[in-house]
């Protein structure tokens, strides 16, 4: 006798859905955040700071888009980095080979990533957990080896060299470092705002239902496959925006951008920051990059330091930093409520 039994994997409750805030609240936060980011270089003269923020923008968008899959839908992709790589290479190649403006190149790059994600997603999203993880990883490796072997186009293991042209558009000159900084911050804030909207939309709740119980979701009339494919494509688009920022930052593209370790870092960032809050991955990105920069400065055994930290989060806290903070705040609120009553 076969029973349709739903697997009810209990995921810690998303703390942000408990108190719905109006949409303009997010826009307000975004404007304030953007203003702070823009004034940062004026307050601190450190040259390293703008570079750090630009890298945070690239990896933050990438990691947050991965969280749409991992945290909101329960799809653990080990190949999400391929879209970061596609973004970097697509944009870099378009700017080097085709005589197009930067906005056109960005739109075309995102279209390419979206089409790739539709094809790859159509194959992958039907697969369950571990199979989904491994097949996405396989596609990542496929794209990486195509980049390595298609030397005439991609430069092989040397990457795209010779720099990227940056024609001025709308009065923005991306060869100017300040312009590039503000442009990256703008992409980051807009990208986060759009992903936040996805997470808080009815579609975002469809994703949560699929994460909690896909069988039940299909029995209330949701086409699970289509919803998963949609979020896979959306996440790929935002990951490519991260790749585009990276490509502008290094003025080229390197095979490492499409290597599986990028996906690994994305997963790591999500573990560090936590997947139950929207901004968890952003916090994780800042943590990882700080860790990365200090560890590489202090020791050659970068991997060892990273390993210890990941063990601390995985075995010690058993959750990401933001999950930990939210739980702590919640328990404090509850205990103070208990005292007052």
């Amino acid at each position: 006798m076969s029973e349709v039994r739903a697997e009810t994997s209990v995921v810690t409750r998303s703390a942000d859905s408990a108190r719905p805030r109006p949409w303009y609240f997010d826009i307000l936060i975004a404007i304030v955040a953007f203003a702070i980011l823009v004034t940062l270089p004026m307050l601190f003269t450190s040259k390293a700071l703008p570079d750090f923020v630009i890298r945070c923008a690239a990896f933050g968008l990438f990691a947050t888009s991965l969280n749409l899959l991992v945290g909101y839908t329960g799809m653990i992709s080990f190949g999400h980095g391929m879209f970061f790589g596609l973004g970097a290479y697509g944009f870099g190649l378009l700017m080097q080979r085709a005589d197009v403006s930067i906005p056109t190149a960005i739109v075309c790059t995102l279209l390419i990533s979206a089409v790739a994600a539709v094809v790859i997603g159509a194959i992958c999203v039907r697969l369950k957990e571990i199979y989904f993880a491994f097949v996405t990883l396989a596609f990542q490796m496929l794209i990486h080896s195509v980049i390595l072997s298609w030397q005439p186009l991609t430069g092989g293991d040397q990457g795209l060299r010779g720099g990227i042209k940056r024609p001025v558009f709308w009065g923005i000159d991306l060869s100017n470092h300040t312009h590039l900084y503000i442009f990256s911050c703008a992409l980051l804030v807009i990208g986060l705002l759009l992903m936040r909207q996805i997470a808080q939309s009815p579609f975002g709740y469809t994703l949560r239902m699929i994460r909690d119980n896909p069988v039940r979701a299909s029995f209330i009339g949701i086409n699970v496959w289509r919803a998963k494919l949609t979020v896979f494509v959306l996440a790929a688009i935002f990951a490519s925006v991260g790749g585009i920022i990276m490509s502008l930052f290094v003025s080229g593209a390197y095979p490492e951008f499409a290597y599986w370790t990028i996906s690994g870092e994305g997963i790591f960032i999500n573990m560090l920051g936590g997947v139950t809050t929207f901004l968890g991955p952003m916090v994780g990105t800042v943590l990882l990059l700080i860790l990365n920069d200090t560890a590489t400065r202090l020791t050659e055994h970068y991997g060892l330091v990273l390993g210890v930290v990941i063990l601390f989060f995985a075995l010690g806290l058993r959750k990401g930093l933001m999950d930990f903070v939210v739980d702590w705040l919640q328990s404090r609120r509850e205990s103070s409520k208990g005292r007052h009553s």
Partner: protein, 251 residues
């Protein structure tokens, strides 16, 4: 009207459903009983599209449902609750209900607006009220009691405003008192909503008291159909089911 015509389903050599033909009149309340392994749950899985019958037709108001996907069948008006409460553990009761209504209104893919949608509120509210969950709307589903989780499961099916509601053992895992409360709710919902309800139940007292018509399944076949009185007097039923039960009770 839900019509099941000559459906069969075999798993390997085992015929879980064997040439079953049944009509469920619109607005009827029917209990499906039968010993363990009689094919009751398989019967539900066939109707809801979780399993595809090997042969036969399933007609809802004349539309053949065989071969359609579960979401498609849900949209045609067949709702279902599960034996093991099938809910969304991390969502609150209210969120789950609102999201379910949104899915039914084909707004599960809406990206440009915020959850919850205003137009989903009334139906969600009504279903929560009907099943006594309104006071627990802000509770996370995972923290609900077993009985409330079963109610939420039913509410999730009911909120889609189905023509036919299939309840797979609504009282499973409950104590006697809780069983009666649950089944009274089911009965009340049937009288108020005037929809077709089919439920699987093990407790004979409940079945005979509450169901105007009963279907007895045994080894995938229909053993008997009829009113409680007819079933009680049916010798085949006594032998195959009630007899063994009583026998087991005596031993």
């Amino acid at each position: 009207m839900l019509q099941v015509q000559h459906i069969s389903k075999a798993f390997g050599g085992v015929k879980a459903t064997d040439d079953v033909t049944l009509d469920f009149a619109t607005g009827s309340l029917t209990a499906v009983i039968g010993p363990n392994g009689a094919g009751k749950s398989t019967f539900f899985n066939l109707i809801t599209g979780a399993l595809k019958p090997d042969t036969g037709r399933i007609l809802l108001d004349g539309t053949d449902l065989v071969g359609r996907s579960p979401p498609d069948i849900v949209r045609h008006g067949i709702g279902r609750a599960f034996q093991v409460a099938s809910i969304f553990p991390s969502l609150t009761v209210g969120e789950a209900m609102l999201a379910a209504v949104g899915a039914d209104q084909r707004r599960a893919g809406v990206l440009h607006r915020r959850f919850p949608l205003a137009e989903t509120r009334d139906r969600a509210e009504y279903a929560m009220e009907l099943l006594g969950l309104a006071g627990k709307r802000d509770r996370t589903a995972a923290t609900l009691s077993h009985g409330d989780q079963k109610l939420l499961d039913i509410a999730l099916a009911l909120v889609l405003e189905p023509k036919v509601l299939l309840l797979d053992e609504p009282t499973a895992g409950m104590g006697t008192e809780e069983r009666w409360r649950m089944i009274e709710r089911v009965h009340e919902l049937w009288t108020r909503e005037k929809i077709t309800v089919v439920f699987i139940e093990h407790d004979m007292d409940i079945v005979f008291k509450i169901a105007p018509s009963i279907v007895v399944l045994c080894y995938g076949r229909i053993l008997a159909t009829g009113t409680p009185d007819e079933i009680r007097k049916n010798s085949a039923v006594i032998e195959a089911y009630l007899g063994t039960e009583h026998h087991a009770g005596a031993a």
